[in-house]
Amino acid sequence: MNSAVIQRTGVLFADWMANWGRVVLDGVETVGAMTLFAWKTLRWMLTKRPHPESLWPNLYQVGVLSLPVVALTGTFIGMVLAVQSHFQFSQLGLESRLGAVINMTLVRELGPVLAATMLAGRVGSAMAAELGTMRVTEQIDALDSMGANPIHYLVVPRVLACLFLIPTLTVMADFMGFVGGYGYSVAILGIDEHYYLYNSEQFVEAFDLFAGLFKSFFFGAAIAIVSCYRGFHCRPGAEGVGHAATTSFVISFVLILMLDLFLGILLDSFYYTVWPQGASLF
């Protein structure tokens, strides 16, 4: 290998390293800026009540308008779980335990994750796009110039709406999933209604419902902070607004799954520490 090729390889490697270094630094900077943004939001939440004029529309947007889509997807997920689990469990002759599996999965995992995903897609992206447009058209600067803190006026009501209403949406997703799974199992798959409900009651505990709702608070906070942050730091132009909406959903979704994993491990550790005998499906 001659020296020119070695030199060229060295330059390419240095460029590659520099690019990765830039990506890592940008990532660290974004995480730091987002943490500061969340801290400022928390400080405003604790020190000054939000304006009702900005809180109520957000509660309506997050809670009322999200209910139909969460209910619909919850119903279908319950039915899909019934179809998939029935095939597996029937091979083992355990069809009667279907209620336990479907409802445990819904209450602990799919209900909260599904409600959060729908919230991130329906509300989070819209928040990022709306705040991004406000940034691009100088409406956020206008708030600042008129002595109204934009984080207090725009971010706090959105975070509170997500925090307060995501548990409600999760309960709705759980309930409609239960209805869908029960309806499909009993009416179409012919599972005995008594055993379906008996097994559900035996294996799904209040702690499972609590675990799902506990996780949903973190999902709601993550969606609201990420979406508002992306909107506030939107690049100029229509492309910037589109990018803010897309990235807010992608980051929120990844965060939902990461939080789901770590909170799941944490809650399981807590459960088995307090109730060492645990619960068994078989």
Binding site: M134, T137, E138, D141, D144, S145, G147, N149
Partner: protein, 272 residues
């Protein structure tokens, strides 16, 4: 309803910027810029696109934080103020944004009433009268209060923006390109409103514009900025500072070219 600070020394400049430097990434927008604006003056800041006029205007109210230098408003250094103190000073300043920056989700009436509802203890029943009065001062009829900003023309939006900026009787009004995108008649209406606002409320005004007609008509002092990337090291960024009447006598070709609106050497940049 007047929110002005009666303790302020009337002899000191209302606004004083000292050697401010603003950079976005590696790009320097403002370089060691010093400017004093006495009370009651109407200053026009001119210069070609990208020279930092709007950034300078936003630095005056703390919307852009200079990485170096100091900004004093009413004798108070903005960088040293906490959130509450900054808010108290900001409500003495009205900002008219280039595209008006009206809140899309609110009606015109709610937009104009916004500063009142947030900073003045006033009976809610009195607010509509104040709003209608301010809208009438900028030539807008009562019925526009119920319209959304998207239903208004560009000129009407600018006038609503002006009414909103004036609702708290500010000491300083900052105008960012007030006539850009308007037809010549509406531009002159806005110019007249700027003059009338000054004479009626005795405010200090800063008008960022590249419309020479506006600058000549409304200003008693003009400052021209040059883009930093067109300057040599050590050159001042302010290339003209004086009354409008002196503009024609200035020898600097950069000023003459801008004032006369000549492409000059810039044409060759485009063609090659």
């Amino acid at each position: 309803m007047m929110l002005t600070d009666s303790n302020a020394d009337v002899n000191e400049p209302l606004l004083h910027l000292q050697e401010i430097r603003v950079r976005f990434g590696s790009y320097t927008i403002l370089r060691d810029l010093t400017l004093e604006i006495p009370r009651g003056q109407t200053l026009a800041i001119i210069g070609e696109s990208g020279c930092g006029k709007t950034v300078l205007l936003k630095s005056m109210i703390g919307l852009v934080r200079p990485e170096q230098g100091k900004v004093w408003f009413n004798g108070l250094e903005l960088q040293h103020l906490n959130e509450q103190e900054l808010t108290r000073e900001r409500i003495k300043i009205g900002f008219v944004f280039q595209q008006a920056a009206l809140f899309d989700s609110m009606t015109v009436g709610q937009n104009v009433a916004f500063p009142l509802r947030h900073h003045v203890r006033m009976d809610a029943a009195e607010i509509p009268d104040h709003v209608v009065e301010r809208l009438a001062e900028v030539g807008l009829p009562r019925h526009v209060v119920l319209k959304k900003p998207v239903e208004l023309s560009g000129g009407m939006r600018k006038r609503v923006g002006l009414a909103r900026a004036l609702i708290l009787d500010p000491e300083l009004v900052l105008y960012d390109e007030p006539t850009t995108g308007l037809d010549p008649i509406m531009s002159d209406v806005i110019n007249e409103l700027i003059i009338r606002t000054r004479s009626r409320y005795t405010v200090t005004s800063v008008v960022v514009t590249h419309d020479m007609r506006t600058a000549r008509k409304v200003a008693d002092r003009i400052v021209m900025l040059a883009p930093v990337d067109q300057l040599n090291d050590g050159d001042p960024q302010i290339i003209f500072d004086g009354p409008p009447s002196e503009l024609e006598r200035i020898q600097d070709p950069r000023v003459g070219q801008f004032v006369r609106g000549e492409a000059g050497s810039r044409l060759t940049e485009v063609l090659h």
